[in-house]
């Protein structure tokens, strides 16, 4: 197989298809829009296949852990395997949209998630208690604005002083929004440039080839 088919060909396809899909966002034209719709459907097929491969990979890894009897991880892995097999069998038997599967999801998974989410407030309190100590001018400003925001949201704030809601709202609307947008711009720039590197093939793994070899 020639080097073009093995290396340069897939890179060229990736670049051309990728830029065509980007063009769909900026251009309203039937052929490009239809092409993007088709590629999106194919991407969903590939993602589902990746999900299936990931499932097989996890079962394989957990099985190896159980067989090796690693003292720290073999029991959780055995339980994980059992739950995975049960959930798959249950879903196939009753379909994932069926009432039985939804019952299983709503009565077991959701309450567990909600209970663990409820723990978050205690961790926020302990982290804040440790962090908000006035060690410098910057932390003092941070602590001051935090107190403003808290009093803005609590009814006692307005009872103490009518300026708390207005001041807190100004901090949220002006200071906080400006900072967040700056971070959003910089984060998005990173995503765009990474996408460019991906489309140009720089993120693909390259295999070293011996010189002069014609495959």
């Amino acid at each position: 197989m020639s080097k073009f088919l093995r290396a340069d060909g897939p890179k060229l396809l990736l670049t051309v298809f990728g830029f065509l899909i980007i063009a769909d966002y900026f251009v309203t034209w039937g052929p490009i829009n239809q092409f993007t719709k088709l590629m999106t459907e194919w991407a969903m097929v590939c993602a589902s296949t990746a999900g299936a491969v990931a499932y097989i990979n996890i079962v394989h890894r957990m099985s190896r852990t159980v067989i090796r009897r690693d003292p720290r991880t073999w029991i959780p892995s055995l339980l994980g395997l059992a739950v995975m097999v049960f959930a798959l069998a249950f879903g196939l038997a009753y379909t994932f949209r069926g009432d039985e599967y939804q019952y299983f999801y709503n009565l077991i998974k959701k309450p567990l998630e909600i209970a663990l989410t409820g723990l978050l407030i205690f961790f926020i309190a302990s982290a804040s208690y440790r962090t908000f100590r006035i060690r410098s001018k910057e932390v003092a400003v941070l602590l001051g604005s935090t107190i403003f925001i808290m009093l803005m949201n609590a009814p006692i704030g307005e009872a103490l002083w009518s300026g708390f809601p207005a001041g807190g709202e100004w901090i949220m609307k002006v200071g906080n929004t400006a900072g967040q947008r700056a971070l959003l711009v910089t984060g998005t720039a990173g995503v765009v440039v990474f996408s460019l590197r991906l489309l140009l093939g720089y993120e693909l793994a390259r295999k070293e080839e011996p010189e002069g070899e014609i495959a």
């Binding site: 900026f26 910089t186 765009v192």
Partner: protein
Amino acid sequence: MEKLKFGTKRCVNGKSMILKKIAPLVMLLVLDLSAYYFIRRANVSGKVPKLRRLVAVAAMDEAVGRCAEMGRPVHICPGSQASLRTYKASQTMAGMSVLSYITRLAARYGITPIVTMATAETIPLVVERMREAYTQEGEADKFDSVTSVRYIASGYAGIMSGQMGIIGREKPAANILVGPFSWETLPVLEEGKRVGAINIGGTVRLSVLHFFAVACDYVLISEEIYAAGAYLSGDPVSMSSIAGQDVGKIFAAIILIVATLALTFGSDLILNLLKM
């Protein structure tokens, strides 16, 4: 074929083509062309921009050294929301660069890296990166993927409780979380603090950045994770693309300042241009 003008409708061979969203297109072209220029310059003439060594990156060396002194493992997670399919892919790859670097240090000092994962599809990539890191240090036979790479669960609650459990039992001396994360990271960082670990973290996601700021000893804020990933990988293409990003950000800042001044003095020309 009739030549297309920006923002107007023309018939091209009986089919109409409309060009829309001019302002985002200009911004995209500025970013992409500047990044491409720096990447080409690095490939052709070998001129790679110098990146400043971030405090959090320097702290990673100290953190792993601390693990070696105390004989405790290092916990790394390249993202509880790690994905190669969505917009989180860029953060995931930055996290992978950090993971490769920390794994190399761990292999060099003979400590155990524990990597916890919540997304099954990225595990093969993680295993491969770690194997490569061990091979580069000449310790390929010491890498055990079953012990080092642990898939926990894919839900928020599952990964949170799993990571807290591992940190509580294995007591790592360093807890390094760089990549795409969600709210479940705060309890994990708190557990790291409880067992006496150094917390180093970074993410781009705005809604959880404050958790990192509050609970981490060293933070990588938003795009700093890309710079850290590029710096630690040493890849000329990655380092050059950081310079391209900076050009795009400077362009955005100039537009913002000019538009703000124009609006202040009563002109909405720039604003109308940005709405095109």
